[in-house]
Amino acid sequence: MTPSPSLTVRVGSLTLRNPVLVASGIIGYGIEYERLVDLSAIGGIVTKTVTRHARAGNPPPRVVETPAGMLNSIGIENPGLEGFLELKVPILRELPCAVIVSVEGEDVREFCELVEGVSGSGVAHAIEVNISCPNVGPHGLRYSTDADMAREVMSAIRPLTRLPLIAKLTPNVTRIAEIAVACESCGADAVSLVNTFVGMAVDSRTRKPILGTVVGGLSGPAIKPLALAKVWEVVQAVDVPVIGMGGITHPRDAIEFLLVGSTAVQVGTALFSNPELAEACVAEIEAYARRAEVPSVADLIGALDVPAERGMIRAGKIL
């Protein structure tokens, strides 16, 4: 029998025991899913996004199922930085996996305060900088739809922590690679993508939008081909690790993201239906590596077999 393939991957200075994470907004702070997900079997979790001040979130309805997808407009309901430090950090400290804390500020100063606060808590193995939530009002997508503003945030927070910084990107842009390159050039250790696609659902019977906020973010298997294309575009534009996500529903979907060039993956919406999905992805990645007879999962990252003259994309242009 061949030795077990190594599943460890590196994201900046963080070593993950395997490349499977649970995405932000899915698993709360881990404890909510304590009895449903074996956290010791997965690489880590990304927390619900922490904002500078507590947020009650958006009015209902906040979720609606759409064909092969889910629209949400949660609005980052969270206890704010002080509440996070007091209530959530003690919980996170006990988790048997890597903890990546997601933060989002309304302006650069808030991003700085969040990064300092989270970094100082000692609980985070990395920080995911959420510059891409579509559900927090007019400012929501500002920082990840404008390369200059993304640079501004990343440059300001980079000197404040030694933790790996992961910039989470929105797909709601024409050239996502430009934003990724901007984040990389300002010290991001990795980029993660995609956040949700802006979407809308309408009830023709009542003539009303279904979500309380009219529009929200689309996730689920419907977005997987869109997400793979965005990851493919970014992978070719940056040298830092890319963490891929968007619609992973079956374990083999995780393999697809690795082949396209993701160093790690995040599972999201489908975990609601199948709480064992993240563990199943780990098992599938190991089995796939074994079948491929490679010593390490690293050998699968970007191993997509694309004819040399095709498929090269730089900054959104097919060369």
Partner: protein, 270 residues
């Protein structure tokens, strides 16, 4: 609460569009309380994407066999797919979840059911009977044929209401409640109300209870994604100042589905 496999024992259409589903669950499934729910995968396929939350109509234990019962109506994609699941079909569910009914000692429980909202109240009535606590059960529906389960209620007094007058009081169950209350048998200090049904009805019952200062719990319904308090997708709007904080949204899945009806802002609850 656990994720457990389950299998369809029976999935029977009782009246057009209304089904009684019996699911065998393993012994690892904890005994549920009336008012609690399960988050059910309605199909072995990946469509629909999300689970559906269903209050339990009952919990059956015979020897080593355990089963949960769900009374549901076909109202959308999830319930339509569920209705097509044959006997023997393997599914899975997360549960039992949420907070159930919490009757106070020495208070007379008045159960107010509207339509298929009767489901958790049937479970509750059975539990009250086991505890030898008498209750008053008021049940309203559009017509006599929709009065599901009424013949099996034991241990309490039952009054029925139908919109078409085909049986019982001709009118709404709210008016029936008012009529019963005016009979003067109960006061706000001796009775309490438990209700489940369309949110419009719950709103009216809550307003009646609130006005008279009667303790009132309602079992709510709504879409849920995780059902374990993580995603914050099922917020319940509260009246301003209620529970000390009108700006807070409790999650229906873990702070409900049974909640104090008099603090819910029904105008803002879909």
């Amino acid at each position: 609460m656990n994720l457990v496999g389950c299998s369809v024992v029976e999935n029977r259409e009782i009246t057009p569009g209304n089904f009684l589903l019996t699911l065998k669950v393993p012994r690892g499934f904890a005994r549920p309380e009336p008012g609690q729910f399960v988050h059910l995968r309605v199909s072995p396929e990946s469509e629909p994407l999300l689970r559906r939350p269903y209050s339990l109509e009952g919990f059956v234990e015979r020897g080593k066999i355990r089963a949960v019962r769900i009374y549901y109506s076909v109202v959308g994609r999830g319930s339509r797919v569920l209705a097509s699941q044959p006997k023997g079909q393997e599914l899975d569910l997360i549960g039992p979840l949420g907070l159930g009914f919490t009757p106070r000692p020495r208070r007379a429980p008045i159960l107010v059911a509207g339509g298929r909202g009767v489901a958790p109240l049937l479970f509750f009535a059975r539990r009250l009977r086991e505890k030898k606590r008498p209750f008053l059960f008021l049940f309203g529906a559009r017509s006599a044929r929709e009065l599901y389960g009424v013949r099996e209620i034991r241990g309490g007094r039952i009054h029925l209401a139908t919109d078409d007058g085909s049986v019982g009081y001709h009118g709404s169950v709210l008016d029936l409640l008012k009529q019963q209350w005016e009979a003067g048998e109960h006061t706000r200090l001796t009775a309490e109300i438990f209700t489940c049904g369309p949110h419009g009805l719950l709103h009216e019952v809550a307003a009646f209870a609130g006005e008279l200062g009667i303790r009132c719990e309602a079992s709510l319904e709504g879409p849920m994604a995780c059902a374990v308090g993580a995603c914050r997708g099922c917020p319940v709007p509260l009246l301003s100042g209620a529970d000390g904080d009108g700006g807070r949204y409790p999650a229906m899945c873990i702070e409900g589905p049974v909640m104090d009806a008099t603090i819910v802002d029904w105008e803002r609850l879909p």
